[in-house]
């Protein structure tokens, strides 16, 4: 019905992220079926779909928390060759600490709730090998400032902070080492609308000023519309449609995407 698109001809940059042929089953339940994804440097890819569509599973795989039954994952970075799913545990941990940042919907997954906020961010730097106290403190402070965290609360533990502030600490931790790839799993879900706007604005600013490549998973189409350059629609473990964000929202092709877009208030 529509035309098949050409390979890029003007943009010569290689994709940062390439995922191919990813399959994953839990027992008889198929979580991901032949999933492919491409993200270019500086681009924001949004992944939408209902609960159980496999979008969060895919994001956890990009963070190397899970290994698929089959498939490949490459990041176009210096000194990094081959399928990242083949890396051993130590290499995975190092790669995630230094090149990939993640923000979870649930801050408990990403933070030590009773340690200080600055300590949470500094921990990431420690894993990467930084040992000088003054540098740790200064870098943690910088990352928290970039996430628009109120600096007078540097030493407050996340458990004493509001949901929006906890997300900022997660974000600061995620960007402290200037990752090549920032993964966001429902980063604003469960926040008040006004707080949600603040977090979105912070993300937009990071995107604009630092050109961080992002993959954001959300079932909130408004969030995706605000942040994403391209959108990937998933259903029952499969990618049903990928396109420019405005095209997905204005001219959805797949029956499921039409249903999803028309269901938005």
């Amino acid at each position: 019905m529509t035309l098949t698109l050409d390979a890029p001809r003007i943009v010569k940059t290689a994709p940062l992220v390439q995922i191919r042929g990813v399959n994953k089953s839990y027992g008889s339940v198929v979580a991901l079926r032949d999933v492919a994804a491409t993200v270019y440097p500086g681009e924001v890819l949004g992944i939408v779909g209902e609960s159980g569509s496999g979008k969060s599973t895919l994001l956890r795989m990009m963070n190397l928390e899970e290994t698929p039954d089959a498939g490949s994952y490459t990041l176009d970075l210096p000194d990094l060759d081959g399928n990242l799913f083949d890396l051993d545990r130590f290499a995975r941990r190092m790669l995630c600490a230094t090149r990939i940042g993640i923000v979870y919907q649930n801050p408990h997954l990403g933070l030590l709730m009773r340690h200080s906020s600055s300590g949470n961010v500094a921990e990431r730097l420690l894993v990467a090998g930084e040992r000088r106290f003054a540098v740790l403190r200064e870098k943690a402070r910088e990352a928290l400032a970039a996430s628009e965290f109120p600096l007078e609360r540097l030493d407050a533990p996340p458990i004493e902070l509001s949901g929006g502030m906890q997300q900022r600490v997660q974000l600061a931790k995620a960007i402290a080492l200037e990752p090549a790839l920032l993964l966001l799993d429902e980063p604003t879900t469960g926040l008040d609308v006004s707080v949600q706007a603040l977090v979105l604005d912070t993300l937009k600013r990071l995107q604009r000023d630092r050109h961080i490549t992002m993959v954001i998973v959300s079932h909130d189409l408004g969030v995706i519309r605000t942040l994403a350059d391209r959108v990937m629609v998933m259903r029952r473990g499969e990618v049903v449609e990928v396109g420019l964000a405005d095209q997905i929202f204005q001219d959805p092709q797949h029956p499921y995407t039409q249903q999803l877009v028309h269901a938005k208030l």
Partner: protein, 239 residues
Amino acid sequence: MTPVLDIRGLSKGFTMHHLGQGFAAFSDISFAVNAGEFVLLKGANGAGKSTLLRTLYRSYLPQAGQVLFQSAHGPIDLARAADIDITYLRQTEIGFVTQFLVARPRVSAEALVAEPLRLAGMAEPEALDTARHWLQTFGVKDTLWPAYPTTFSGGEQQKVNLARALIRPHKLLLLDEPTASLDANARAALVRRLADLKAQGTAMIGVFHHPGDVEHLIDRVIDLTPNAPLQEERQDVAV
């Protein structure tokens, strides 16, 4: 001269899966636009004028045909170009002007207007200066520049939108009723800006509810009414 845009046999329709049916918006459209040329699209409501603009911008996916665009990187078929190339061209060479502002929470008017320049690599102070110049030109009061346009009236939002959309010169500009509901001063500022861009060589395709606003800019009229002779000479048309 090679046209900036050469549209050949372009067709677009929509399939509405929940109704189990589809309909054609326009089919087999062909025309070309040269640098510095202004083409007005005409036709009754539903003739597909806005749909054609959105298809050229690739907010809509074309179903058949070619849209050859002479980019700074050589010719490229917009109907089949990769999404990433389209994103790049939108940031650099192809602009779209509507009457609606897409405001974002907690982003000031001047930051919103400056954004295309920031994305193109201009330093923030210089980009903001340029943004303020255009806000002033389109008649947005200076007290509103640092405010958030989400709360502005429709008319003020529209001016912010024009400042943002026209802050950078483009090779190709698509205009979807940008003058609708504008006050006289802003309309005059818009027409002046379009005349300047046209003189600089921007190719333009526009839909105007009241084409009288831009009458002296129009070089050619394309009638999208089904079965109408597609092209008419400028002189023959009462606009």
